[in-house]
Amino acid sequence: MNNTKHLRIIYILKRVFLVLFFLGVATCGLYPVANQPIKVIVDSSTDKYVFSLSPAEVDKLSSYTMDCPGISEATIDEIRISRHFESICVDKITTGAFPSYGIIEGDSVVLNSEACDLLREASHSAVLERILFSEGLLVLTLLIWILLNALGEKIDPDNRNNHGPIYEIRKFCSEIKEYRQYMVFAANADLKAEVANSYLNRLWWLLEPLFNMLVYVVVFGKIMGNSIQNYATFVYSSLLMWTFFSKVLNYSVKCVRNNRDIVTKIYVPKHVLLITNMILDFFKLLFSLIVLIPMLIIFKVHIGIAAFWIIPTYLLMIIFSFGVGMIFLHYGVYIDDLSYAVGILLQMMMFLSGIFYDVITSLPHPLNVVMICVNPASMFVDTMRRALLYNTVSNVPLIVLWIIISLLISYIGIHIVYKNENGYVKVI
């Protein structure tokens, strides 16, 4: 009897935290944030200069002179504007756009009034913080929710027919261990099967992204014209990431149906099927990397220590695609037309996420920050590019936040699938 009382308390607590979350988000969205100090970071080919400006200074600025010793012999790569979080830039001026925003006079960079407008705008709008803190609240609420569920499971081990977080995470881990041999073997066999009767064999995994890249370089680089340096590497490195991401999501919707032969004849944890496909796509990704390395050398991209920052971006992409994939996998079983919807959605997302352009410079000010903050695809692609091509570690708080969110999404996906997989065979 005591148990039911405790469970009741947990149930009420969950509702309370949900209400608190919405209140918190409303506060984050509406709280009047005063103008903030900003930082201007000048990245030249030889050095990096950081300048801080208080809100009062920014307000009466009409032109701004920055002393950058040694700038006369170097070239400016980009000028980034950021707020409290130095690694997340809210706006930037690239080399190509620089002439309309300022000039180099001797050893100092002089920004004109147009650039000062940019600085003012960056100081005024608090969109970045509002979204960031809302996402933080989301993480917190989800964590509390899951912990409360785990607590409920401890009190009442039979809670919701063994669908508590502790049980599910344990089950997930042991299944991963049990099936790891199968997953690697099956991914390998599927790869072999895919190229078994084609003439060019594995070369296709190289040719496909390479020719895609060529098309985009011609269309967006030459015909539409843009000023991004090393546009080919810029597009190719982003395409590799995007291809993996979209392939996994496209597959996940049809995952159970495609594996009808297996699923109707034997019990297989559904995430094993998804991970098998992810391993397959990852092999292909590694293969396409072979082209990227000579490209980096040919275009003389300076690769520094910051290139290690691409590891967390890839990690984020893998966890995020797994989590979303698990959720798609579940709904894909019941809703046939979801695969069309996801196809269209991914197509739209590809053009919105800045695979072919730099989101920060191409979108107007508050929108670019919103895109970076709420669209992880756009964020991990941008972060990866900046680490690889411009040797800068960027978007640190966002990467950390999204890795946690992705882990939570993955858990939710696993939970939904475990809870419903019983019915899958009866539907397909």
């Binding site: 078994a196 034997i266 019990y267 065979v425």
Partner: protein, 242 residues
């Protein structure tokens, strides 16, 4: 007294018509309307001792395959429990996880691992499987080049050779040519003598008569009869007369 290998206790299995499931409803825990639920298996209980062979008979659509799938763990019953006492169960079905573009050898490894065997173990038994399947050099060709008989022979061989404690057989004894059929029967006889527990679903009453220790008869998901092979089959045959 032999140990009990499998306990099926008051099992009921429902199919829900989910074609008009709404997205919104799946988020809430809305009750499914009664009319949408179709009960495929209704309150069936039996238990099988280790080494026994149980035959299951019934008309088409009476829930035999559903019951087997449930024993195989593909889905949990909606009511009642199925206890396999820690035994490994495999549903002998045509081509688990076969990919038509892979060679026979790769497919053996893949489906072997899906059945829960370790890679090394499947590799060890590989020669036995290939020999039993009578495929010869075809084993290293893609499965899509196989004839349907060869395909069935291969998948029968995989489940017949790899040892699982409880084997579920769903109408697959009639695969292959006359020679292979005789061989399968011989294999079944061997299995009968060995310690493996087998559940067979079949319409061929003479097959069942030959192998089974017990027969279960279900009709429209309802439990009809369970007991001695000849007795149950006689009653079943009578009910099937025009």
């Amino acid at each position: 007294m032999k140990k009990v290998a499998l306990d099926v206790d008051h099992v009921s299995i429902d199919y829900r018509d989910l074609s008009h499931m709404r997205l919104a409803r799946s988020f809430s825990k809305g009750e499914v309307r009664k009319a949408d639920v179709f009960r495929a298996v209704n309150d069936v209980s039996f238990s099988v001792k280790q080494g026994e062979i149980l035959g299951i008979v019934g008309r088409n659509g009476s829930g035999k395959t559903t019951l087997l799938r449930s024993v195989a763990g593909i889905f949990q019953p909606d009511e009642g429990t199925i206890d396999t006492h820690g035994n490994r169960v495999s549903l002998m079905a045509i081509g688990i996880g076969f990919n038509a573009n892979n060679t026979g050898r790769e497919n053996i490894l893949k489906s072997g691992m899906l059945l829960g065997c370790k890679l090394d173990y499947v590799k060890d038994r590989m020669d036995d499987i290939i020999e039993f399947s009578e495929l010869g050099e075809f084993i290293d060709r893609p499965v899509r080049t196989y004839s349907s008989g060869m395909y069935s022979k291969l998948s029968f061989a995989v489940t017949a050779i790899l040892d699982t404690d409880i084997m579920l057989v769903d109408e697959v004894l009639s695969v292959g040519d006359e020679h292979f059929r005789k061989k399968s029967f011989k294999k079944m006889e061997e299995l009968m003598l060995s310690d493996r527990t087998v559940l067979i679903v079949s319409h061929a009453t003479n097959t069942l008569e030959q192998f089974c220790d017990q027969v279960l008869w279900i009709n429209d998901g309802q439990f009809m009869m369970l007991g001695d092979t000849t007795e149950v089959l006689k009653a079943y045959d009578e009910s099937m007369q025009l």
